[in-house]
Symmetry: C2
Subunit: 204 residues, 2 copies
């Protein structure tokens, strides 16, 4: 029997997304967001949710662009700092020792030090409550040469992305591969096909 | 220098969400979705994105309700099966050996075997492209007694949620705690305050 925890934002896992933008003065800013995810395959889209008080909020609205960097184990303190400090008072890139790189595709910067970045064009915003959801079309994904596997694809075990635990406000890593999707459930699928055939035979 | 991968849905990590609903005939159905995440803290909201062809699509629209179970390491094959089979042809709960439980708060079922479930009232749908985003208000979160820690909170290391890798279609686990959020970046925050004071003193 399951026990109630109440109406809370408890999802496992959530990501640690480093959202890059230029403010009205052209200063690069970067914040840490765990509320987001992929929301569409075609066009490829990603969401991040921001409070209106965030310095990044108007920055993204004005330039209709943002980037999403993937926080990694080796840059945990830097990623966390970007969620504590405010870009209105601080040059977060400078203090955290992060290098702002201007996207060649959208009007937003990203930090060179995070191994993967999604460059996004703002498609729409959805007012939800204390958060506004920003939906961005992913116009490109870029990765450091070190995080590609021998097959030429991004390798999650080389990226070492952070996982955020909203229950205890903890950062975790990603463990090794346990199984392949669209594969480990096939045995059950086969048994389902067989059961359907048996049912149809019994019915006919 | 980062290398381009193209405009793809590559985010790390993404979750493995088990979306429960009743269809028009009242049959419980459950599907596997990696496109989703938390999108608002107050009201607490979660998103899942579905294609129109999915059996769950109209089911959720009709009853304005769904559940989100957290797939876990011990139920990987069952979770994967729910992403391979279609509820239109198969009783996925029966074939996968999952037990449908009627939510006492929303008009949707969940599988008893996944350790955590979010019960959701459909707030709105957003048309994005081949996916439609369903935004649900989380009216309660429930967990098995075994996945609570000594502090009475849900424990991610007991839940053992699956992580989905969209680059290689792999399921991974979550590693141990690496650091606490709003904490491990504090040292940089302190140095930022000091730098600001030095700058102000120099300017004055």
């Amino acid at each position: 029997m399951k026990q109630s925890v109440g109406a809370k934002t408890l999802l496992f896992p959530t990501p640690v997304l480093m959202v890059g933008s230029y403010d009205h003065a052209g200063k690069p800013n970067i914040m840490n967001a765990a509320w987001g995810g992929i929301c569409c395959s075609e066009p490829p889209c990603v969401t991040v949710s921001l409070r209106k008080a965030r310095h990044s909020f108007n920055a993204i609205l004005e330039r209709r662009a943002f980037t999403v960097g993937i926080a990694c184990e080796g840059k945990m303190a830097e990623a966390d700092f970007c969620g504590i400090a405010s870009g209105s008072a601080t040059d977060k890139f400078a203090v955290a020792g992060l290098t702002p790189v201007r996207s060649d595709l959208v009007d937003a910067p990203y930090a060179e030090e995070f191994p993967v970045v999604l460059e996004c064009r703002l498609l729409q915003t959805i007012e939800l409550g204390i958060h506004t959801q920003f939906i961005g079309e992913i116009v490109d994904v870029k990765g450091d040469p070190e995080v590609f596997g021998a097959d030429g694809q991004l390798d999650i075990m080389k990226i070492k992305p952070l996982v955020y635990d909203p229950s205890h406000q903890g950062y975790h890593g990603v463990g090794p591969l346990l199984g392949k999707a669209f594969s480990v459930g096939k045995e059950l699928k086969t048994s389902a096909v067989l059961k359907n055939r048996i049912n149809q035979n019994q019915a006919s």
